[in-house]
Structure formats: structure tokens, C-alpha cells
Amino acid sequence: MTDMLSTDHQASIERTKLIRAGLRKRHLSENIFKSLGLAAIVVALGFVALLFVDIVRKGAPAFTQSNVHLSVTFDPAIIDVEPAPVRADGQSDADFQAANLKWQRDLAMLNWNKVIEASLRAAAPAGFEIDSKDLLAIAETDARHQVRAQFVADPSLLGKTVEVDVLASANAQNWIKGNIDRSLGDAQQQLSAPARALIDEMVATGAITNGFAWSIFTNVDSRSAPASAGLLGAFVGTLWMMLIVIVLAVPIGVAAAVYLEEFAPKSRLTDLIEVNINNLAAVPSIVFGLLGAAAFINYMHLPISAPLVGGLVLTLMTLPTIIIATRGALLGVSPALRQAALGMGASKTQMVFHHVLPVTFPSILTATILGVAHALGETAPLLLIGMKAFVAAVPATPLDQATALPVQIYLWQGNENRNFFEPRTAAAIMVLLLVMIMLNGVAIYLRSRLEKRA
């Protein structure tokens, strides 16, 4: 009897031990599973942090630029042209324009590099041995255009000396910022030894100083003068496209959503439209680019590289997003509101436009901003409609050649002068991300404000 009891007891102890061991194992696996999940989140958050830190670390230096302070003398010995044409009586606009252009062409034929060279030599310490090619490598190649433009604007400068700030060349800036390894030998350096020594000397004397790189925001893209390449043209091109997207996509999208949600009879056709919109939202963006190339450019002969075409393509891409979001918002409006309106004798159209749609305004606004922000970063379709052409002008109308911010990033990352353009590309990315963050912030702020009021 006691024997049996003790075996029973023994068995129960054994069982408890087994269960305890099993529980320990199960709890261990529970903890492992839980921490795996946490690890996944940490990894995902880590990627976000890494991405931003990496871009900012790479891009921040590009927001400073090195300026060379020069005393430029408009030497009549070099600037040897007739005085600027004055408009005669009875001369037609076109003739005056032609004379003026001829004068400017004559000016352009002059060797303005000599003016720059003289000023640079004046800025160098007396007796510094350097040949003119190395000397000119310090200032960016567009310095001569800058000085010439100054003279064209004010021909009375002939013979005078003025203080001018010009950009240091991309190679000089690489050297100053340390983008290029300073210990590399002469063969691997882009600047000659005297030029490098002179740059260091000028930095020490304050003839070269660093300042905020406004040129990124105020200049257009440039190939010959990489240091002066800026985002203005791309930015304006993007603005034109966003304007077109907003003007077209919002009314059409909202109208389509209102029709589908409120008016459409349940039929084959509306089912088809519905499936179609859902699929359209998931079509790869590059396919929209192909549509733009074939339909807008090849068939309708709209101009290549124009923000108009880009805007149309992005509109078609954004439409499904806005339609889907607006439909969701319409669906969320309480039936009581509709029935109250109908009960008071409003027609269906009045009910929708006077009562239902105003309530959904915050959601539609948010969806619009998010859709536009998404369209803002889209690159692939724009490449196919020719917006990756090099454009060195600010597009004045949506029909002019232009490029866009993300395409500018694509173009800059492919530039041969890697040392200089890698930071500049990262800086352009920072500008793009900043615009997107601002748009998203505005969307979040407006939504919270408007929803509180509603």
C-alpha cells in the first residue's frame, strides 16, 4: 500500500518535472519568438536610421561652397570692342536686337579667361610661380561668363576694377573639403602641385572662404562648370508637373470617385471600372512611362522632355490613388447625414455636393497631398519621356524642355566627377526628401486640424 502510494507520488513528481521542463522549453521558445519579432522591428528601424544618417552625412558637406574673392579689372587692352550699340531712330526691334546680339557675340569672342587669370595672379602672393593653365584651374570655368555678364549689364565698367566673388572649381573644392585624399601622389591628383599649394595659401590668407552654397538653389544644371550646377531648373520643372497633377488629378479623381460611389448603377460596366482602378494602382510606374512615350509623344506629338507630358503621365499614375482614397472617405460618411438631406427634399446631387462631399474634405486633401508627394519622387516614367535630357534653363512654360528633381538626382549620380557629385547628389536627395517630408507634415497637420473641427 505505502509502496503504491510512493510510486504514485514518485510518478507525479516525475510528471511535474516533465511538465516543468516542457514549460521551460515552451517559455524559452516563446521568448525567442518574441525577441525575433523585436529584432525584425529593430532591423527595419535601423535601416530607416541608416538611410537617413548616410544621406545626411554624405550630403551635408555639399551645402558649403568655396568662393574666391577677386579684384577684377576690366582691362581695355583685353576688352577691345566697339561701344555697346545705341538704338537709332526708326530702327526696328529686330535690327536693334541683331546689332545687340552682334555686340554680345563680339564680347563672347574675347578671351575673358585673361581677365580672370590677371585677377587670380593679383590675388596670389607676389612672385608665386604658377602657369596660367594651373592658375585658371582654381576658379570655376563659368567665372568668365559671370564677369562677361557683368560687363554686358554695365558697359561703363571698362577700365574699372571691381570686387567679384567667383566659385572655386569643383576640383579646388574637392581639395579644400578633403573629398580627395590629400596624400595621393601628383599623378592621381586632379590639380597640379602649384595650384594645390596656391589654394592652401589663398585659404590661409582669406582670399578663398567657405560659405553656404546658395548656388545649389539659385543655379541651373551645368556640365562645363560642375561647381555651379544647381537644382533651380529641376525644381521649377517639378513644380510645373505638380501643378498639372493637382489641377488635373484632383477634380477628375474626386469626380470619378463620387460617380462610382454615389451615382453609378451596379452594373457590369461599373464592376469593370472598379477592378480596373484597383489594377491600375498596382501597375509598375515604368509602364506609365511607356504609355506616355507611345501615346503622348509618338502619337500626339507633344514636345519631348516637357513638364506637360510628365505632368500628364504622373496624373494618370496618381488618379487611382486619389479615387481609392476618396471612395473610402465617401464610404465613411454616416448614412444619417445622407438620409437627413434626402428627407429634407434635397436631390441626390445636392445631397452629395452640399452635404457628403464637404465632410470628406480632410480625407481628400490628405490623399491628394500624399498622392502628389508620391508623384514627386517618381523617376522611371520621366526617363522614358525624355526628361533625362540635359537642360540648362529654367522652364518658363510647361511646354519648355525641363527636368525634374528625381531625374536630376539620377543625372548627377552618373556624373564622372564622382568626388564632387556624390555629395552634391546626396544634397539633392536631401532637398527632395525635405520637400516630401514637408508635404507629408502639412498633410498630417491639416488632417488633425480639420478633423478636430469637423
Partner: protein, 459 residues
């Protein structure tokens, strides 16, 4: 300038029309004391719509035909023998000179007498035609206005008419979505068909060599356009991307929806979703300058030959990009599994992870598979990351450490925007686009079908 005048005239006309309809309706109500069917706004809109239609038709007709008429007029003003002596370029230059004379800006150099007379004639012609158009439009508008106004009676169902117009406009807007799809399919199919007249479809779909030769346009040799290397590259990068995104995304979704404190969830979820909002060109740059060199160094450290731009680089970064896509879709789907299933498992003594692994995940599996398929479709159609980081080497091989090319990369390379769509070199982009479109469409339709079935199961 002219278009501004026309727009201004149109606005004034519309305002007048609206006002007159409104006033007329008002006077009906006050004078006779009868009950008017529609409110004054509807009568105003009714008249405005009537006015708008003929005016717009005339303006559009002029915009459509005007240039041709002006051109013919200028040519008729140039002496016949001069026209015959000029070639197309010379004629266009002469026309441009005449136009700039007519605009009063003048031209540089000697003005020929016939140019001067043609310029003067053109100037008066332009003035007269503009006047004719604007007067015709205005007259048509006013006539329509008066007609519509005369129709206004107390019994006129203006509201119904206006609402019908609104309805038609709304329908037209929702038809844009259909037109987009039709446009995509039509342009892809027609251009791809042109491509297949150069290259046999079998050579395209089953060819193993991708070597489009740009050098020999017009000659017999067109190069080789085998799809398989590109397809293999696309699939390899997609596979790598999914290997990164699925474990991370799914585990993150499980943790966020089942374990995490709601405060943590409220912070972590939007931060992860930031990844979905970053433009892909940014990921491409990140892959090119940071991830690629890092992987190459790691490979060098452990003795593997990993290229900086390779399928691995592009795949890993694309995987990062899709993480939020996988995680938020899975999150939604996990939340849709009924609570009773979970509670039942807890009641039987299961731990949280056992419940998730043995109950939640099997129940949510169809939906999660659907989410994965949507993510695959995203990865297949992704362009900028692979353009920058995959290295563009269209060779059929199975090594993920080597550069590859994908369908999207080849589309971008073949169609640069300034090609004239004449040869297979640029047309192949449309055949590739068609392939891509069909692949992603099938994936999407299938995935949406699965997700919908799953939803119905628990509703």
C-alpha cells in the same frame, strides 16, 4: 494674349448667362407667385451650360483648324514663282519672317517688298479672323443664352437638366481610368506588334542572348533580343528581395500586432512606413554608394567575390524597400483573424507564440500569401534601384554576386525618349513592357482574388 481675351470673354459671357437665368427665375417667382420647379441657381447654371457649349465648340474649331488656315493664307500671299523656287526649309523660314513682320517686331536684314506686303496682309488677316472668331463665338453664345432664357418657365425642370449634365461629366471622369488602361494596352500591344515584325516572338520569349546592336540601323542585322537573361535577372533580384523582406516584414508585423505595447506600436509603425514613402531613386543611390561597397568589402573579408553592383546589392536594398509593404499588409490581415480563434487557443493553455504559429498564421496564410504576391509584383516592376545598383549585365547566369540586368533596366536603356520608334532597338521596350505588364497584372489579379476570398471567409 489672344487666348487671354477669349478666356476673359468666355468668363464674362458665362457670368452674364448665369445672372440672366437667375434673374429670370427670380422674376418668375415674385411676379406670378407661382411655384417654380427649380431654384434660381439651377436656372442660372442651365443658361450658362447652354451658352458654354456653342462658344466652346467654335473656339475649339478655330484652335484646331486655325494654324492650317493661317499657313495657307501666308503661302497664298507669297508670289507663286517664289514659292516654287523655295524648298520646305526655305519656305518655313520665309513664313517665319512674314509672321514676325506681321507681329510688328520686325526682322533683321533687308525686307523684300513681297514680304512686306505679305506681312501687312497677314496682320490684317489675323486681326480680321480673330475678330470673326470672337464675334462668332460671342454671337453663338448670346443666341444660345437668349434661347435658353426664353425656355425658362415655372415648370421647366432646370435642376434635372443640370444634374444630368453633372452626371455625364462625372461619368466621363471615371471613364478616364478605363481609357488609361485601354491606352496602356493599346500602345503596348501595337508597338510590341511592330517589334514582332522584326523579331520572331519565339526568338524573343525563348532567346537566351540579349545583345541589341545599336550600330546597324537599317541594315539586316538587328541584334539578338532574348528575354530569358532579363527574366532570370528579374527573378533573381525579386527572390533576394523577398528573402530580405518576408522574414523581417512578417516578424515585425507579428510583433507589432500581437506583442508590442500600443505606445511602441504608435511610434514604430509610422517610422517603418517611412520606408514606403521614400522615392526609389534614393534607395538606388543608397545601394550604389553605401550598400554595394559594403557588401563588396564583406565579401572580400570572407573570401567571396561580390561585385559592388550586383543582383545581391539591388535585391537587398529592394528588400528593405518592400519591408513596410509586407509588414503593413500582414498586420492588417493578422488583425482580421477573429478573436475567438485566438481566445480558444489561449483557453487550451497555448502560449502566445504557439497560438500565433499554430492558429493565427495558418488561419491568415491565404491572406499573407496574397500580400507576398503583391510585394513580388512591386519588386518585379521596380526600376530605379536596379538601374543604379544591378550593374546591367544581361548574361544568363546563376551567381547572385555578379551584375545582372532586369526587364525594367532594359526598358530604360532601350527607350531613351529621343528615339523614333522605327527599329527593333527602341520597339523592344514595348515588348518588354508588355511582358512586365502581363506578369504584374497576373500577380495582382491572383493576389487580390486570394485576399478577397480570405476576407469573405471571416466575414
Amino acid at each position: 494674349m489672344n487666348s487671354l481675351i477669349i478666356a476673359g470673354m468666355l468668363l464674362v459671357l458665362l457670368g452674364l448667362a448665369y445672372q440672366s437665368g437667375w434673374a429670370r427665375s427670380r422674376s418668375l417667382a415674385t411676379a406670378n407667385g407661382v411655384k417654380v420647379h427649380s431654384r434660381p441657381q439651377y436656372h442660372g447654371s442651365y443658361v450658362a451650360i447652354w451658352t458654354l457649349v456653342p462658344t466652346i465648340v467654335i473656339v475649339i474649331l478655330w484652335a484646331w483648324l486655325g494654324d492650317g488656315i493661317t499657313h495657307n493664307f501666308i503661302v497664298s500671299q507669297i508670289p507663286v514663282e517664289t514659292v516654287q523656287s523655295l524648298d520646305q526649309v526655305g519656305l518655313n523660314a520665309t513664313i517665319a519672317r512674314i509672321k514676325s513682320l506681321a507681329s510688328g517686331y520686325g526682322v533683321a536684314g533687308e525686307v523684300l517688298p513681297y514680304e512686306q506686303t505679305a506681312g501687312d496682309a497677314l496682320r490684317s488677316f489675323q486681326f480680321i479672323t480673330f475678330l470673326v472668331v470672337i464675334v462668332a463665338a460671342a454671337v453663338a453664345g448670346v443666341a444660345a443664352l437668349l434661347y435658353a432664357r426664353s425656355r425658362i418657365t415655372a415648370r421647366l425642370r432646370a435642376r434635372n437638366a443640370v444634374e444630368r449634365v453633372i452626371n455625364i461629366a462625372l461619368l466621363a471622369c471615371s471613364a478616364v481610368a478605363i481609357l488609361t488602361t485601354v491606352g496602356i494596352v493599346a500602345s503596348l500591344v501595337s508597338e510590341a506588334y511592330k517589334f514582332f515584325t522584326f523579331i520572331h516572338p519565339i526568338d524573343f520569349f525563348f532567346g537566351t542572348v540579349w545583345n541589341p546592336s545599336f550600330s546597324s540601323t537599317g541594315g539586316g542585322a538587328h541584334g539578338q533580343y532574348g528575354l530569358l537573361p532579363l527574366l532570370a535577372g528579374t527573378l533573381m533580384i525579386t527572390l533576394i528581395a523577398m528573402l530580405v523582406a518576408v522574414p523581417v516584414g512578417l516578424m515585425a508585423a507579428i510583433h507589432l500586432s500581437q506583442y508590442a505595447h500600443h505606445n511602441f506600436r504608435a511610434v514604430a509603425k509610422p517610422i517603418i512606413e517611412i520606408l514606403a514613402g521614400i522615392p526609389t531613386i534614393v534607395f538606388g543611390f543608397f545601394a550604389l554608394v553605401t550598400v554595394g561597397p559594403f557588401l563588396r568589402d564583406v565579401g572580400g573579408f570572407i573570401g567571396l567575390d561580390i561585385k559592388a553592383t550586383s543582383a545581391l546589392t539591388a535585391g537587398v536594398v529592394m528588400g528593405i524597400m518592400i519591408i513596410p509593404f509586407v509588414s503593413s499588409l500582414s498586420d492588417d490581415i493578422l488583425n482580421q483573424v477573429p478573436r475567438t480563434l485566438r481566445d480558444g487557443a489561449y483557453g487550451l493553455g497555448a502560449t502566445k507564440s504557439e497560438t500565433i504559429r499554430n492558429v493565427l498564421l495558418p488561419a491568415a496564410l491565404p491572406g499573407i500569401v496574397g500580400a507576398f504576391l503583391l510585394a513580388v509584383s512591386r519588386a518585379v516592376g521596380e526600376t530605379m534601384i536596379v538601374v543604379l545598383a544591378a550593374g546591367n549585365s544581361p548574361v544568363l547566369r546563376g551567381n547572385p554576386f555578379e551584375p545582372v540586368a532586369t526587364i525594367t533596366v532594359s526598358i530604360v536603356n532601350q527607350l531613351t525618349g529621343d528615339s523614333d520608334f522605327a527599329g527593333p532597338q527602341s520597339l523592344v521596350a514595348f515588348a518588354l513592357g508588355l511582358t512586365l505588364f502581363v506578369i504584374t497584372l497576373c500577380l495582382n489579379v491572383f493576389a487580390l482574388y486570394i485576399v478577397r476570398r480570405f476576407r469573405e471567409q471571416y466575414e
